[in-house]
Amino acid sequence: MNLSGEALRCHPSIILENSIQILVPIVVILFVARRFDISVIAALISAALVLAVLFNYRQWKMTVIRFGETDVVIERSTLFKLKKTLPYSKIAAVNVNRGIVNRLFGTSRLMININSGHNAMAPEAALTFKRDMADRIRTELSQRLYQHELPVEESGETLVSFSPADVVLHSLFAVPTLQNLLGALFLVNSVYELYLSVATDAAAGGSALISLGMFFLVQVVPSVMQLFRYYNFKVYRKGDVIYLQHGLVRTYRTSFPISKVNAVRVKSTLASRLLHRSCIEAEVVGIATNDGNGNTRPVICLLKDDATIQRLLGELVPEFVYERWPSKQPSGARSVLRVRTIIASLALVAVMAYPSLIIYGDEAPRAGMMALSPFVLPALTALAVLAFVGAARASYRIRELDIGEELFTFVNGILDRETVIMSYDKVQMVWVVRGPIARRFDVASATVYMLSSTGTKNVSSGLFPESELKRIGDIVMERIASGKYDPRRSGA
């Protein structure tokens, strides 16, 4: 097939897919509202289904797609007219994924993302075609984008094999630590409430169920979503293009050129560090994902042991590997963190003192666990102060800065740690910031702004000497002035 400008329509199965999407919330609302009896609900649902199908049929019929010489044009001539032109030169990636409806009808969804920070969370076009046709279109578009052809059925050898156990570990332990703690808190509370209801021979209270529901929402659902999303994970590189394949129910095939990668993050949560594992994410312009955990960057390696991670970095993204000589924060940073901790602790104590005194002074009789209530707030305040002290000590120990010739690195994170390796050529702005305490101890922090997978992204450093941080901006300028920065090569 040639992208010859002939008018195409999506596969008619999108009428069903879109109608179901409209219908589901209507059905839920009707059942939750419980305003009507079942026959009325059935009639309303049938009417809604007919209307949705008619509406989507008309949308499908009146929407045509033309793959021209220089751009793809999507034109819809319904009441809400649309003409969307996506120049090939602005397209960042063309990817394919398949859900249940796609599998039933033998179709694929072609997702076209452009180099835009605006609307980055959703692809600029999601077009459903017969599977072979979607693959052929993707191949031809990829040829234009990456100057080489993609095989219709990509069959690259994955650089690292990921067993189902690896996927399960990733699903469980790549969840941010605070989210895990919150989930555990809800679980403990629901168990405690259930225990109370059994011990007192009362019916299980609603709060136990709410806590259990929150535990599922915060902990179980994100983990299951990750499990489904990353099952059968494969990653490989051909030439300058990185390919990802994964998915259990909905399958994802994603590819992007290395020039679109602005930064690479090696991430580890507290739990994964205990297992000596970390994962790799890439900040890819124009590709935003949502794995159910609030993470929007494509994961290019699931949680793996540290040696594998280092090997994969070298094989998959050697452009982001260099010999690092990281600097630790100077002693001035320790002083700044100490002063900040003291101020935060004093503020917290001042705020908590009044309610603590009121509860302590309340002479109402208390029995059982309630007898401890006057001490709960002071104890929580003391714990929070200890947490501040611990966080300050960890922050001083962990944060690193490394300024290389082509790349630079920030290491951040107390519970969930991340090493962000960035290219000077992708830096859009540099802010060097000095607060009043930092000025007193002669340190500053830097914030680097880049284009990210979801628009703009900034990464902040720890506290380092101002002169050292200013070198980042100086090197960016030097590279531009000396011609080392090539806007074509860097995908700008």
Binding site: Y354, Q428, M429, W431, V433, R434, Y449, K457, N458, M477
Partner: protein
């Protein structure tokens, strides 16, 4: 060596430029309006809902009063500090802005990364003949604030010219 022009704007050694003194007037007016709104909101909340605080009512009054006095002190001194610290410089390859009242910021934007330049004016700045230049990059927006409108237009023209030259050279 520093030099002050008839327009109240000064150029410093090293190529940095300072703002016109009118920026302080704009900030005083803006801060004054915001402060008045805050005072009215606080008084309204305490009058209508203060009783709901019960014994904590007096403490809330005291806390609110302390915060308002501190804010008033800030409003009184902040524009002067802002003016005295603000510096900006535009060269053929970068935009460099230094400013800050409590926290000092040094922003560096390579001209190479500039996507869009925009001059905007709010009602107070419009009244005083001031404007701001918003410099948009793919990674966010940097702003040069409180420029006289002629100067803002000149800065925007210069930036647009530099970006245009860069793009032409690239082709």
């Amino acid at each position: 060596m520093d030099g002050e022009g008839a327009d109240g704007r000064r150029e410093e050694a090293g190529g940095y430029r300072r703002l016109n003194r009118k920026c302080m007037r704009s900030m005083y007016i803006g801060y004054g309006i915001a402060y008045a709104v805050l005072v009215v909101m606080f008084l309204s909340i305490m009058s209508f809902a203060g009783d709901a605080l019960g014994p904590a009512r007096n403490a809330a009054w005291m806390l609110g009063a302390i915060i308002l006095i501190l804010l008033l002190a800030y409003v009184a001194v902040a524009p002067r500090i802002y003016y005295s610290r603000y510096r900006y410089m535009i060269t053929d390859d970068k935009v460099d802005v230094r400013y800050g009242i409590v926290v000092l910021r040094h922003i560096l934007v390579p001209i190479e990364r500039v996507h869009q330049v925009e001059v905007s004016r709010g009602p107070i700045n419009n009244m005083l003949g001031l404007g701001r230049v918003n410099i948009t990059t793919a990674g966010g927006v940097a702003t040069i604030s409180y420029l006289e409108i002629d100067e803002a237009e000149k800065v925007a023209d210069r930036l647009n010219r530099l970006v245009g030259t860069l793009l032409r050279d690239r082709v």
